[in-house]
Amino acid sequence: MFGPLAVTRYLRSEALRVALLLALIAVSISGSGLLVRIDHLIFDVGQRLNRRAVPGDVLIIAIDEDSLDRLGRWPWPRDQHARLLQALCASRPAAIAVDIAFSEPSSDPLADAVLAKALADCGNVVLPLVIEATRVGGQLLESPPIPRLAAVAVGIGRTAVRLDEDGIARAVDLREGVGAATWPLLAEEALRVARQLPAQANAIAAPVTPLVARHELLRDQSRRIEFVGPPGTVPRLSYVNLLEGQIASAVFADKIVLVGATAIGLGDFLPTPVSALGQPMPGVEVLANILISMRDGRLISILPMAPTLLLAALLAGVPMLWLRRLMPLPGLLASSAWVLVLGAACALLPGVAQLWFAPAGALFAALFAFPLWSWRRLEAARRHLDQELRQLRAILPESQATQAFPAEIRRLDFEQRIAWVQAAQRSMQALEAQRNEALAFISHDLRTPLASAVSQLESPDGCAPENLLPSLRRALGMAQAFLWLARAEALERRQMKELELTAVLEQAADELYALARQRQVSLVRQLPEAPVWITGDFQSLERCAINLLHNALTYAPTGTQVSIGIDLPAAGEVTFWVANAGPPLSGEQVDRLFQRFSRGDQMAENPSGTGLGLYFVRTVAERHGGEAGVTCAAGTVRFWVRLAAAGVAANHSSP
């Protein structure tokens, strides 16, 4: 059986199954990278929300439009860079990173020499190394500065950042190189020179060099950059202003100075999470962001794949913790809140703990949790409903159901099922009411005459048997009337047979002939000669007529007559009636007559009445799809029962 306990158990195992399914969804989404753009979106939102104070000790010497206007077209002669460096070094900055590729000798060897001397004089300048693919064949080449400059630079590092699938720069690799991931970042080198490299960055493990893949780009220790703000956040000074001595040299003391292009025309721009596509960030500012992140220990670690999948799977199952307990609406709200909280937490996590967890899988699963669980719960509810319906169908008597139960529950839709259960519930209530009536009947109507008989028997002077008879007869009559009524209430149209109504009424009149004689009332039959066919229940219709006749004989004055007859007012309609002479009944009396346990005013004259007779008549009429009533005219009281005729030819004579 599918009891309440079974439902609970079923849902518990179901919750586990749904949690597993959610975990599977989360893992497959996370593992396949199908929704990686969602991850990026969340990360970018987090970056934009995460605002930090801009540190003042990192400055950009910008090769901007103004400088290009005043100093001429790019590339500039290298001795000009040498002059800039000399001006910079005079104010003793902590380190200088020049984000200009010197990978080929300049046309003027003297300029290279001047630059080399300036680099050597400064002693704290780091230079970039570019890893680029050749135009043909795609072979990767590391392009360091020319040896002459490389020799005097205190450090050489990469400026490359990693572009994601959507073309946005979010991550850098701490080590990278062709054949072996050995080159550090330019930012790291600048920090090392400035002695500001945090301790944990010093401990960057030496990468293991694989024996194969000699010519592939190897990357190691990917980190995400924490941006301090949109492009332009890091303070910039114009190259030309510095060169022309318009800036006080003290500005640069103990600061890390980055030299690089910000002019649009020079093309070194990257889209970043903090910049819209229309406003990309100059490469040198990205470098400044990397540098600040690294120095402050705020480079964002990326959770590796295995823990990511595990975490995604665990987070996916979380909604099941409350979905099992909550009703649908709170469940929906809680699940929606969970999606928001999870997304927000993952967006803010990099800013708080320098850790990035890609949440798309867990989020997607969280979105699915509510529908999946609702589906399972509806399914469980449906099964329960079906089970209940089946049980109800098994225990409810057919006559109680307003409509027949469907043979195939499977075909019903949900609303129909609910309607069926409601109908069944109404039937149950009706049954309950009947049971209460039966109890009331037994406890009062049946017990009273029996108790009176018993008390007479127990009286010390004894009693004559004929004194007992009235109360015993009354009890028996009550029981019989109640039984008939119960049977009438269970009548079903499809069990009814075709029968001839005049025979039924003749028989009822036969039955009461003796009583009529005893009361000196003549019984007149006004029945048609032609047979009247109806569909009905022989016994209850006969009892109906008997009750009406009995009633009429009881109330008819001595010497008058009681008639029984049939009217055929219209095709398909039959009315049989019983009439007696008597005073007209008031409207109130008429209303009460057909009620249960009611009696006429002459109750005192007729103590043997059960009060069920006319209610029985009404019940039988209604069960036959007809009605019962009474009309009073010209000193005659006429009780009638209207039924549907069987719709067959009335004259059914035969050979």
């Binding site: 049977r487 047979k497 075709e498 029968l499 001839e500 005049t502 025979a503 039924v504 003749e506 028989q507 009149a509 036969d510 002939y513 003796a514 004689r517 039959r525 000669e529 047979p531 066919w533 229940d537 022989f538 016994q539 059914h652 004579s653 035969s654 050979p655």
Partner: protein
């Protein structure tokens, strides 16, 4: 006349067997259905009076068993039952019982039914060519029925039915049985034909209590023509 009486209620059994013995019947009472069945199989009884509900074998089960064992030597069977629902009564009659009496039993009714059943067994009614019921006289040889000195005009089938009913006063006759007897030569007669003819006879022969008769329809299953005890 030997009667096998199956009844598990001792008080009722004592009362009823008292009535029967007083009426000159030889009664043997049984409390157990199995015992009763065994006795009726082994010894010769003329009538069985069975209660419907008995602890071990019910009256109907005894009836079914006897029908298998005794076949044509089956005694007449009357059921006494507290259940007067149509389906119960019709089921008993269909199972092969000759008649039924609804409890509580009345002495007069029981004796009348027993009389009717045993009369059939003695083959008395069929032997008489003329029956005189006071206002109604039946002449089987001439196939004529006279009511208050007036010859009643009946159709052929009505006459057949009337004569058969008068031969079997007090017996329950199923409609199927009546069709076999009265309409044996006519194919495809439905039960409604019987009802129509019965109604017609009731009217034409005044088969009502005023004239000392009752033509009882047994829930549409069949008919029983009864002599009313107190005619006007």
């Amino acid at each position: 006349m030997r009667i096998a009486y199956l009844e598990d209620d001792g008080d009722v059994a004592a009362t009823v067997s008292g009535w029967l013995r007083a009426a000159g019947y030889d009664v043997e009472c049984f409390v157990s259905g199995a015992e009763c069945a065994h006795a009726v199989e082994s010894r010769c009884f003329d009538v069985c009076l069975f209660d419907w509900i008995v602890p071990d074998l019910s009256g109907r089960e005894v009836l079914a068993r006897l029908q298998i064992k005794l076949r044509r030597a089956m005694p007449a069977v009357i059921f006494t039952t507290g259940r007067d629902a149509e389906e119960d009564v019709v089921a008993v009659l269909n199972a092969g019982a000759d008649d039924y009496i609804v409890k509580p039993l009345s002495r007069a009714l029981l004796l009348a039914r027993l009389e009717a059943v045993t009369r059939r067994q003695r083959g008395v009614a069929g032997g008489s060519l003329r029956q005189d019921f006071g206002r109604l006289r039946v002449d089987h040889a001439r196939r004529q029925i006279v009511l208050d000195e007036q010859l009643v005009a009946l159709t052929e089938r009505e006459t057949d039915l009337a004569l058969y009913l008068f031969q079997n006063v007090g017996r329950a006759l199923s409609r199927e049985h009546l069709i076999q007897v009265v309409w044996s030569l006519t194919p495809d007669v439905d039960t409604r034909t019987v009802d129509v003819h019965a109604s017609s006879l009731r009217r034409k022969l005044r088969l009502n209590p005023e004239y000392g008769w009752r033509l009882v329809s047994i829930y549409g299953h069949g008919y029983r023509l009864e002599r009313e005890s107190s005619p006007a």
